[in-house]
């Protein structure tokens, strides 16, 4: 009898251990996004313009170079950071400077942001400057968009902004 009671106790305790595990492996559900919201993602991967211009190598400088390194001109590697701005219905949602990657700032600039915005009609403006030497923004997209609840819209950049 004692043994039976002990096994019953074990069954109860195993149950008490595993029941919360079974329950908490998927419940309670988590509300991540309100039902009337949509998602706008902006992702840019673009190399800014190179800072400075190539300059011809003079005779003395040219002569100093090893035979396999001789070249007519030398070019800078550093790139301009990107100025990126996202405006929705006249409100600036995002504005930042994205530096070039790499130890010498000679790589691409990459950024990503996610926004939860109300579903419905919006006026979207995307601006980017990849050359600090020029004033204002040299890349621009303005568009009216219509978002359904839970829709994901992606603004990316490849030789110009595009919406997906």
């Amino acid at each position: 009898m004692d043994k039976a009671r002990r096994y019953l106790g074990q069954a109860l305790l195993y149950g008490l251990f595993f029941l919360p595990i079974v329950y908490f492996t998927h419940l309670p559900t988590h509300r991540h996004l309100a039902q009337d919201l949509a998602v706008l993602k902006i992702a840019v991967r673009h190399a800014g313009q190179i800072i400075g211009e190539c300059t011809p190598l003079g005779g003395a400088e040219y002569d100093k170079l090893a035979p396999n390194m001789k070249r007519p001109e030398t070019c800078p590697r550093e790139r301009h950071p990107l100025q990126v701005e996202l405006i929705l219905d006249g409100d600036t949602l995002y504005r930042d400077t994205v530096p070039a990657s790499g130890l010498h700032s000679d790589g691409v600039s990459s950024m990503y942001q996610r926004f939860a915005i109300p579903a419905g009609a919006h006026h979207l403006t995307l601006l980017m400057n990849d050359d600090e030497a020029s004033q204002g923004y040299n890349w621009r997209l303005e568009q009216d968009i219509e978002l359904q609840p839970a829709q994901v819209m992606v603004a990316s950049f490849k030789e110009g902004f595009r919406l997906q």
Partner: protein, 511 residues
């Protein structure tokens, strides 16, 4: 706080001991259970991997095929894989909190404590990687938030989240990478678990067979009753609104979204750093007494102390002045001053023909000579008519001092295994007491890991030094009841006295 936790665990220990017996008590084997669950996850993972397709379209459908198409095996394997990982998460957490509550994390034990902290990260990373592979709604949620969480770190050149913009940006190679991580991280976890138990003697990495069978049976029942299922397939073109989460492992994720990645990193890294420095924080606990000292004159190099030290603090070297002989050496960084070595030393015998009792190894806080003097003094002061009992106990188990009376002499020491079996022989042969009782920590839950196990084995003649055959075994009792069992130990002492009294009467009557 710690005291409250300790009371809670003591209560749970008693509850589980009643149902499982102390040998099967899962509260004493949380670490070993974690190892068992790890192996269950590993074995079932190998099976699932055979059928898993590492592609965008194949990941979800292959898991569904395993779950539904072969529910009787693949489905059960998947459920075992999930529930065992969750059970491991809970056992590991309980193990950590319990070791803290029971004060088993400081001094030489710091290594096990500190080496356990990175294991928490590896365990969570292993589990999260597994959920990711299923590529359902939960996986989509994890993928985006994990990527955004890591993108916050300045080490990321290209944002990882750019891989999950929409369906067109996702690549099959991503699943190959995930599988690689889901195998590599658990292997790193296993290596970490090995390091975690490296500095303890005879670390328990297998639970009692009955407990292992019970938990596997319970998991089978649960797997058949509520098999692990996927949610709807992931679709990166549609945002997640509501998702079912595994709250055992994914509880930090809502924070990433609501607090932001930086704050979540600060919280989790801060918590890990805090846990790491806990062994060195000021505490009210008693300071460790000086570590064990070897007396080369009385050490014969038998190695019994080396075999019994629970923390591998004893090693052997060539004897200082006896050529061809060995001698014990104590590593002060590893010694916890439990005194188990003194109880193991064959020189700790009051029957030795020496002017003053001494021994090969002892702790300065309670030298074997002092223990003998204390035993004799205390027993000589007893004046009650009932049979006299010598009750030895430890500072971490039953509070024997509360049971002292005119017929019961008590001595508490760091660990009950400090008492050499020869002492029991001495007390009974010299007629200093009618019976000897030894109490301590709960069975299977010795504060110094192995004290009560070694004492049990010495008394049952399975381990040196043994309790000699001439000692009347009915006059010696070992009771491992823990701090919470002090009152019960008191009742057992009374019952022991009544038994001895009755035995005396019988002997007087029958001769």
């Amino acid at each position: 706080m710690k005291g409250l936790l300790k009371k809670g665990f003591n209560w749970l220990d008693s509850l589980f001991s009643k149902a499982f017996t102390p040998q099967w008590n899962p509260m004493y084997q949380l670490g070993a259970l974690s190892f068992l669950y790890y192996w269950v996850v590993a074995v079932t993972g190998v099976y699932l991997f055979i059928f898993f397709e590492t592609s965008i379209s194949g990941a979800y459908s292959s898991i569904e095929e395993i779950t539904v198409g072969q529910w009787y095996l693949g489905g059960v394997m998947r459920s075992f894989h999930r529930y065992a990982s969750a059970a491991m998460g809970i056992c590991v957490t309980l193990h950590l909190v319990r070791e803290y509550a029971m004060d088993r994390y400081s001094g030489p034990r710091w290594f096990s404590w500190v080496s356990g902290i990175p294991l928490l990260w590896l365990l969570f990373a292993s589990a999260i990687g597994g959920y990711w592979l299923v590529w359902d709604l939960q996986a989509q949620y994890i993928a985006i938030l994990t990527a955004e969480w890591f993108d916050w770190l300045p080490i990321m050149v290209d944002p990882m989240a750019s891989n999950f913009l929409n369906e067109s940006t996702l690549s099959d190679r991503f699943f190959s990478l995930l599988v690689f991580l889901h195998i590599g991280i658990p292997l790193a976890l296993l290596l970490g678990m090995f390091i975690h138990i490296k500095r303890v003697t005879g670390a328990r990495s297998n639970p009692a067979k009955g407990l292992a069978a019970g938990t596997l049976l319970a998991m089978l029942v649960v797997s058949l009753w509520r098999p692990a299922l996927s949610q709807a397939p992931a679709n990166l073109d549609v945002a997640i609104t509501e998702v079912g989460l595994d709250w055992v492992f994914l509880n930090p994720y809502p924070l990433i979204n609501s607090w932001g990645p930086g704050q979540t990193w600060a919280l989790l890294v801060g918590l890990s750093c805090f846990l790491t420095i806990i062994p060195w924080l000021p505490s009210k606990r008693a300071k460790q007494t000086p570590v064990a000292v070897v007396d080369p004159d009385n050490c014969n190099g038998c190695g019994w102390c080396l075999a019994d030290c629970p923390y591998e603090a004893v090693s052997m070297k060539d004897h200082d002045f006896k050529p061809g002989h060995k001698q014990s050496v104590v590593d002060p960084d590893l010694c916890v001053s439990c005194g188990i070595c003194a109880g193991a030393c064959p020189s700790s015998s009051p029957f030795r023909h020496v002017d003053e009792l001494t021994t090969g190894i002892s702790i300065p806080g309670l030298h074997i000579k002092e223990l003998l003097a204390l035993t004799e003094n205390k027993l000589q002061q007893l004046d009650a008519d009932t049979p006299h009992i010598m009750l030895y106990g430890c500072d971490h188990g039953s509070v024997v001092g509360k049971l002292e009376s005119g017929s019961v002499a008590t001595i508490s020491m760091p660990c009950s295994a400090l008492v050499p079996p020869a002492f029991i022989d001495y007390v009974l042969r010299k007629g200093l007491a009618e019976g000897v009782m030894i109490g301590g920590c709960c069975e299977g839950d010795c504060f110094y890991r192995l004290g009560n196990t070694w004492l049990d084995q010495r008394f049952s003649k399975e381990r040196m030094p043994i309790l000699r055959t001439r000692v009347p075994r009915e006059k010696v009792r070992l009771r491992w009841l823990g701090e919470q069992g002090t009152a019960e130990l008191g009742r057992e002492v009374e019952e022991f006295q009544a038994y001895l009294h009755h035995a005396d009467e019988e002997e007087a009557y029958y001769g």
